[in-house]
């Protein structure tokens, strides 16, 4: 219980710190949201600033923003005039979430199966492919990958549409682009941890007992090697967020990543704040979940420092 209290208070404190620093960063930054091609007349600018509360002192603005946040109001977007930020976020989040969850599933299932197989058959052609995927996923710029996919599948083969979300086929290319890096991360980790656990005594015992290759690999070796994947949950989410900026921009998908990028370009402060807060919450939650899962999956790791201390003293 103390663990829960301590963790959730540090969770909230971190979020507060994050929003305060982003808030400050945005307001001190040179250039305002209403700097257009043409300078606005001063009285209009003054009215705009008054309307959005930009003429108040910073501390007051932040207190105001925080107060509104507690009642679930993230303010109105500057760019999409009159539309509340919370509405924009809730509209776009489902699209991004489908891609994110899809990419996680593809990378976890595909990556761990392929990684296990590659570890078991070192230097087999599947292992070669696995190594290539890892190296490719680590080094290829995702826009080049997206470009190559579009060229092959929509220009030359004319199988899939190059952009926009219209029919089911149009989800394929963005999903592949988004999943390549997480896939290579999972693949790399599983390959090394499975080949490590294949060296252990209990695997030798299993083989000696006459268990089949399939059973040794998937029942004994892979199960234990999946534990490190739990720690990958935070980095994977971080990676998918960054990936979504690019994928949604390139494929013209109206998701959160696209909103975030255009909000930054147009200095849409409330939208930037709202999305950053959402991302921060998501990432912290994922890191926390992965901590919890660790303790649950692997009882050797203790979360609560008190119980650890108790164990030491006994």
């Amino acid at each position: 219980m103390t663990y829960f209290l301590r963790k959730s208070s540090s969770f909230l404190l971190t979020l507060l710190l994050l929003s305060a620093s982003v808030f400050l960063l945005l307001r001190i930054a040179p250039g305002g949201p209403f700097d257009g091609e043409k300078a606005l007349p001063p009285e209009i600018l003054e009215n705009l600033n008054r309307h959005y509360g930009l003429d108040l002192p910073l501390s007051e603005q932040f207190a105001h923003w925080l107060g509104n946040l507690l009642s679930g109001d993230l303010g109105e977007s500057f760019q999409y005039i009159g539309r509340p930020v919370s509405e924009l976020i809730s509209e776009s989040v489902s699209i991004s979430a489908v891609f994110g969850v899809g990419a996680i599933l593809v990378s976890l299932i595909g990556g761990s199966l392929m990684g296990a197989y590659a570890a078991f058959h070192r230097n087999h052609w599947i292992d070669r492919i696995a190594q290539f995927v890892v190296s490719f996923g680590n080094t290829v710029p995702s826009y080049l990958f997206a470009g190559i996919l579009v060229l092959i599948f929509s220009r030359w083969l004319e199988l899939l549409p190059p952009a926009l979300l219209e029919d089911p086929g149009s989800w394929v290319l963005p999903l592949i682009t988004l999943a390549i890096r997480p896939l290579s991360m999972v693949l790399q980790l599983t390959r090394s941890s499975v080949s490590e656990s294949l060296q252990t005594d209990y695997i030798r015992t299993a083989v000696a007992k006459g268990a089949s290759h399939f059973r040794v690999l998937f029942h004994h070796a892979l199960r234990n090697s999946l534990i490190p994947l739990v720690g990958l949950l935070g980095p994977l989410t971080a990676n998918l967020l960054t990936g979504s900026f690019l994928v949604e921009t390139v494929f013209q998908i109206p998701g959160m990543g696209k909103y975030f990028v255009s909000a930054v370009i147009n200095r849409d402060y409330p939208l930037v704040m709202g999305v950053t807060l959402f991302y921060g919450t998501l990432l912290l939650a994922m890191t926390w979940i992965s901590d919890l899962l660790y303790g649950w999956v692997d009882p050797r790791i203790r979360l609560d420092s008190q119980s650890a201390a108790r164990q030491e003293s006994t």
């Binding site: 470009g147 991360m185 971080a238 990676n239 960054t242 690019l246 370009i265």
Partner: protein, 278 residues
């Protein structure tokens, strides 16, 4: 082993040739980087234009070489300064200990939870998108992993007999840090640098591609790729050449950094936490 040496040599040669060509781009290329030859515009690869031309009739190879200047130098400089910052923070945290350590490590943890591209994007809002804006944004996001490694190293070193004897001999604190601690850190600094440079080149091109990178007249590989992406369906060379140049340099750096890593350190420290970010 032999095959590995061969690939390391190839990677090194490629990177050196590319850097030299970028450095002396004015002499290497027969065109100026903004020279527009309207009658040749949007032509594919040919003898006159090895990588073709863009929509304004500018020679793509020339633009890639000038872009390399920006991409490579920003990668190198931000990597270097990021690591200096990381070393400083790591040493201070480990050496001072106590609440300084706690605060610095909390900050490091906090910044590592967020994707570095996200932080860099938010920072460019603040610093602007000139050379120094991007520079500061990338420096601020590339010290965390290294600070942790350095902190660990220093904590380990502190308890070793040669440090204790130096203290017993009355070495002053700066002397201790400069003469005894720092020399043992060079190896890990060097390896971190070989990871951080390509990561930052990639990060910069990622920002540029999103339209959040350098403002014109600067154009890095990412900017060229962004221009190319729009015209890609009719003129694939415009995305393929800038993208592939970036890809091959990143592969080159990866081969080199793996080589350095296996030579100077064990695998464990780096294999997972210091991969390319974007």
């Amino acid at each position: 082993m032999k095959r590995k040496n061969w690939s390391v040599r190839l990677a090194l040669t490629f990177l050196i040739v590319l850097s030299l060509a970028a450095l002396f781009a004015e002499w290497v290329s027969p065109y100026r980087f903004d020279e527009q030859i309207i009658e040749d515009r949007l032509s594919g690869p040919s003898l006159q234009h090895w990588m073709g031309t863009d929509s304004l009739g500018r020679d793509l190879l020339t633009r890639i070489l000038f872009g390399a200047r920006l991409s490579l130098s920003i990668g190198f400089l931000t990597g270097l300064f990021g690591l200096l910052l990381g070393t400083l923070i790591g040493v201070v945290a480990a050496w001072r200990g106590g609440w300084v350590d706690i605060i610095l490590m909390r900050l490091t943890d906090f910044l590592t939870t967020l994707p570095s591209i996200l932080i860099a994007i938010l920072l460019t809002l603040f610093f602007g998108r000139g050379f120094f804006g991007i520079f500061f944004a990338l420096v601020c996001t590339s010290w965390m992993t290294h600070a942790r490694i350095v902190r660990g190293n220093v904590l380990q070193l502190r308890s070793l007999p040669f440090i204790e004897s130096a203290i017993a001999l009355g070495a002053s604190e700066p002397q201790l840090l400069w003469r005894h601690i720092l020399p043992s850190l060079w190896g890990s600094i060097f390896v971190s640098l070989s990871f951080q440079i390509p990561a930052n080149i990639m990060a910069e091109s990622f920002l540029a591609f999103l339209g959040l990178g350098f403002e014109p007249p600067y154009s890095s590989w990412g900017t060229l790729a962004q221009d190319g992406f729009r015209a890609m369906r009719s003129f694939p060379h415009l995305i393929l050449f800038p993208g592939l140049t970036l890809y091959f340099s990143l592969v080159g750096f990866q081969i080199l950094s793996n080589h350095f890593m296996t030579r100077s350190l064990g695998h464990s420290q780096y294999s997972q936490n210091s991969r390319l970010e974007a």
